[in-house]
């Protein structure tokens, strides 16, 4: 489903990634771990076409992500649900509107939005906070809204960049459980994290990145640097 083919990314003279080759199969749950600056976020940025590789190719299904013109990026990104450490909710939209925005952007009808958004709000257990703005929500609630936004269009892949980095242990546990449930329903998930507890709780494939290189790729699912 996803294939990084000898990917190198340099910022000036500094190599953020060097000759990385990874493949991810459909319905996999992959945790990418590593120290800060190891290149985890760069990997995700390349996958989302936020950055272009200096060398090598990134494939999503049959699409060479590097070859996508700027005008086609939004179509490509609708296949991927994104979850960020800092939530990145739109501040002047309510919880409901933040989730609905992803559907609106994908051109879904008003009727579909009216049906699906309340369902997702219920799924992330935030129906009572539908009319709240992000600054009226706790960190855990924000992240659950962000997950709701990521899954509302039933994407093929969810990419979560340090999704529990700003959360307390209880909220971390809830987010991990939600992601596991989404994966069980057939969605591929790639998560980057520093959190040993999260990786161990997930118990799936773990890729360790160090100084821009893949140094370990374990199907066993234990955190190890």
């Amino acid at each position: 489903m996803i294939y990084f083919d000898k990917v190198t990314k340099r910022y000036g003279d500094t190599a953020a990634l060097e000759g990385v080759t990874i493949s991810v199969a459909p319905k996999e749950f992959v945790s990418i771990v590593g120290h800060s600056g190891a290149g985890k976020t760069t990997l995700l940025k390349l996958l989302l076409a936020e950055e272009r590789p200096t060398d090598g190719n990134v494939f999503f299904e049959s699409i060479d992500v590097n070859d996508l013109p700027s005008s086609a990026l939004h179509h490509y990104r609708r296949k991927i649900g994104m979850v960020f450490q800092d939530f990145r909710l739109i501040p002047n939209k309510t919880a409901y509107e933040n989730i609905a925005f992803a559907m609106e952007a994908a051109g879904r009808s008003d009727e579909e939005i009216a049906t699906d958004v309340p369902y997702i709000l219920e799924l992330v257990n935030l129906s009572d906070k539908a009319a709240h703005f992000p600054d009226q929500l706790s960190g855990g609630e924000k992240q659950r809204i962000a997950i709701g936004r990521a899954i509302i269009n039933q994407p093929d892949l969810i990419v979560a960049d340090e999704p529990t980095g700003n959360l307390d242990p209880i909220n971390t546990y809830e987010v991990v459980e939600i992601l596991k449930k989404i994966n069980e329903l057939g969605t591929t998930i790639i998560i980057t994290t520093h959190n040993k507890g999260v990786v161990d709780a997930i118990g799936k494939r773990v890729i360790t990145v160090d100084r821009g290189k893949v140094v370990r790729d374990d199907a066993g699912g234990k955190y190890s640097l």
Partner: protein, 308 residues
């Protein structure tokens, strides 16, 4: 773009504006100042044109005819002059009218009137007062008169004198001053207009800068550029329209107050009357400027954040 997308952009733009709080208020305020400056420049431009036209109308050249010239010959010259493209108006003053005007002008000067009575008859000439469309064109009008002198039936010229030579220097200087004032005045107006537009652009850019994170998120959740831009353009247009409405409302008391205070200084030009008479023009310019400024500034400001 279908109606559903347009409707969503309009609703999102409206909500963005309503929820923008201090940012929306600050943008409207700056836009109001910008449009206020543009409105002032409209009045300034009208005042400048009015003043220059008034001065231009005060300049004319008089063609005096010999006392033996018949009225039909003089009116023939008038017809010829009126056909010249550089001539704005030609008015005829008969010798009798000139005498009446002279008597009225010197009604309190018994000595002059007595001297006039002693002369007997009417010593004053009939004349044509010629007004050019532009003060620089008097020379060519006078040249025309000299090149094709009007003759009486006995073949002598009926034109006694043209007062252009003695007024030439003043007319030339005035023409130069009017031209310079017009050029400099409009250049200053253009400069102020550009400066105020740039300020409005910078403010909208700043407002959109505060939303750059939001724009990058929209890109990452798969929104197309046009779908991201649309609501910002709508917000910009709403800002422009509200600012234009505020200026149009505030101009009524301002124009009335300034009009009553300055009409005397401006030689009869009333800002309030001008605003009332030209409301449709001012309304169109301000509303259109507000809409275009808001929309174009938004499109330009957001463009750089759509590259992710």
């Amino acid at each position: 773009m279908n109606w559903m997308v347009t409707k969503r952009m309009l609703v999102a733009g409206g909500k963005n504006f309503a929820r923008g709080g201090a940012v929306s208020a600050a943008t409207v305020l700056i836009m109001t100042v910008t449009l206020g400056i543009i409105a002032s420049l409209i009045f300034l431009s009208a005042l400048l044109s009015y003043t220059l036209t008034t001065i231009t109308q005060k300049v004319d050249v008089s063609v005096y005819f010999v006392t033996s010239a018949s009225e039909s010959d003089i009116l023939a010259v008038k017809d010829q002059l009126e056909k010249l493209p550089q001539v704005a108006t030609v008015s005829y003053t008969s010798a009798a009218d000139a005498l009446t005007a002279f008597r009225a002008r010197h009604a309190n000067d018994q000595l002059t009137l007595q001297a006039l009575n002693e002369l007997g008859g009417n010593p004053l000439d009939a004349s044509l007062e010629v007004q050019a469309k532009d003060p620089t064109q008097y020379e060519s009008i006078v040249s025309f008169l000299e090149a094709s002198p009007a003759l009486s039936s006995d073949g002598t010229s009926i034109v006694d004198r043209v007062n252009y030579a003695q007024n030439k220097e003043i007319i030339d200087r005035l023409a130069l001053a009017i031209q310079a004032t017009r050029s400099i005045g409009f250049a200053v107006i253009a400069l102020f207009a550009i400066a105020s537009i740039l300020i409005a652009f910078a403010t909208v850019r700043l407002a959109i800068y505060t939303a750059k994170e939001e724009i990058s998120v929209m890109r990452l959740v798969g929104a197309s550029n046009i779908y991201i831009q649309g609501p910002f353009v709508v917000t910009g247009v709403i800002t422009g329209v509200i600012a234009a409405a505020a200026v149009l409302i505030l101009l009524w008391p301002a124009a009335w107050y300034a009009g009553t205070k300055t009409e005397g200084w401006f030689g009869g030009f009333s800002i309030a009357s001008y605003y009332a008479d030209h409301f449709a023009l001012v309304f169109s310019i301000l509303t259109l400027s507000g809409i275009v400024l808001g929309a174009v500034a938004s499109v330009l400001a957001i463009r750089k954040y759509l590259k992710i």
